[in-house]
Assembly symmetry: C2
Homo-oligomer: 319 residues x 2
């Protein structure tokens, strides 16, 4: 007899789910395209069917709760609000749709908060009460945990470290402002940095011969690993900008650790080394040498699904 939690990760292209037990073992999983469904009701119906099918394949299993991670997810309301990468308009009450479809408690949060809860429950932040998770993907997402709880803020939208200003009047951001941290410290940001370095005359770099559409953070990491000076400089600049911003974040919440996650974090020491150096150089003296920067322990597992399941698990134990 297994009590299982369904963790659901709503992505722009696919929605992935997994049936997770208390120890983080995934007993079944599935995938449904997000965008081909006419609306959220149809998507919820298809995911619920997939969950029932996966559940039937696990001997003696019963579904206890559902946790959902979604872009622009609001924990307090269980809604997805004006998500730019989803086809739905306005405010969608996704948690209550899943609650009705599956007949179990459902809760929802945004992807970065779900990842933070996943690290706290199953990953690199086990046993920590104060830490910060930073996702370095297309943008920069963050989940702040203080006193053992995610900081949601009064409206459910806290944790937007990616939209603190790194360079006043700097690069234009998708949010309509300028100089946001995520325009520098993200997979997208490092590509922009390389383009700027190339325009400034980095013709010796092997990246000068890469087509624009192939110039990805992965290609930059490969070039840096092969010793390309310009690619290494791009990681230095990215790490410095990130480390300086993290020093300000540490001054506010003083986390035990900062956990890096997502595409750019996969480049390992290339991003870690300059970030740690800039952080330590920039920190207020009383904080120096006290905050560890770690890589996610869930990067090669389905972190978003585990995080969403961990959220539901945490709600269970609060109930």
């Amino acid at each position: 007899m297994h009590d299982l939690i369904a963790g659901i990760d709503i992505g722009g292209t696919n929605t992935v789910f997994g049936l997770v037990d208390r120890d983080g073992v995934v007993h079944g999983e599935g995938r449904v395209p997000t965008a081909t469904h006419a609306g959220p009701e149809q998507l919820v119906h298809a995911v619920a069917e997939g969950i029932h099918t996966a559940l039937a394949a696990v001997h003696g299993a019963s579904l206890r709760a559902v946790g959902i991670g979604a872009p622009n997810g609001n924990y307090y309301r269980g809604t997805v609000e004006f998500a730019p990468n989803l086809a739905w308009r306005g405010i969608v009450p996704l948690a209550s749709l899943f609650r009705e479809a599956l007949g179990v408690p459902a809760c929802l949060t945004n992807d970065a908060n779900a990842a933070a809860i996943g690290e706290m429950t199953y990953g690199a932040a086990r046993g920590m009460r104060d830490f910060l998770l930073v996702t370095l993907g297309t943008g920069l997402g963050s989940g702040f945990v203080a006193n053992g709880h995610v900081i949601y803020g009064h409206d459910g939208f806290a944790g937007e470290l990616g939209h603190t200003i790194a360079v006043r009047g700097g690069r234009p951001c998708g949010c309509g402002r300028r100089g946001c941290l995520e325009t520098y410290a993200s997979a997208t940001g490092i590509v922009l940095t390389v383009r700027e370095l190339l325009e400034e005359g980095g013709t010796d770099s092997r990246l000068a011969r890469v087509d624009v559409e192939d110039l990805t953070s992965r290609a930059i990491a490969d070039a840096a690993a092969a010793g390309d000076t310009l690619a290494k400089e791009a990681f230095e600049i990215t790490g410095r900008t990130l480390g300086e911003a993290l020093a300000d974040a540490v001054a506010i919440t003083s986390p035990e650790a900062i956990i890096l996650f997502g595409g750019l974090a996969r480049s390992g020491d290339l991003i870690l080394a300059p970030t740690v150096r800039a952080l330590e150089e920039t920190l207020l003296p009383i904080f120096r040498g006290k905050t560890r920067i770690l890589l996610s322990a869930l990067m090669d597992r389905n972190a978003a699904v585990l995080g969403a399941a961990a959220l539901a698990l945490a709600e269970e134990s609060d109930r």
Copy 2:
């Protein structure tokens, strides 16, 4: 029969205490010079004597707990650590000294956190679970409250908004770095701003005729209230720098309100108006129009004593 809490505020010059009930009414108070005592043990002895005397004057009163607010106070350890404005060296276990001297539970935190708890218990933040208190005095102190609890961080030193960087490479700060917010947005910061404006040629200002030692934030507020252009410009610059920094803080913790406290906050609209304007102009769109900026409700009462007492009260109810 009154259960009273002793709230103690350790200042560089004087240590002030008050006997406070659950409703925030002060039933007795006293004052002891801080620096004339040979060491912390002697100060604790003198304060404990004062508390006993004040307690004896309240009919049927008994002491239930002690709360202490102190510069560089560490909540977790109950210690004052390397406080630059106190004559004591190193780490002083002040909470346990008071516990032994008075025979009741004692807890301690830094002044800004104590003020935040005071506002939450007796002041402008009653009923709020997510807010930020900012003290604009000689420096800039801050207390962040999320999910109804002060963010202490893993080491007890969180909440150093004054030492986030407002201007990279900017004004030298007492912490040894450059450009810290408190070198701009504080009573000291606005004086520096006025000096810079005067050096740039603000000879028409009435502040050009004020002696250096009389150039205080109060004198600047008086000049601005009288229409002095340079003084008003200094408030604009100060409020803009503060508002921009608060926009970044809101992106991280999304507070319901930001409460301003301390010397510079006494100038009211002179500092509020440009701060609110810069905040709203700079905020990420989803946060606009949602975070109120308020003045402290405890400014004309003994906020530090009330805050320290409120800390002890909160500990009582957690026990």
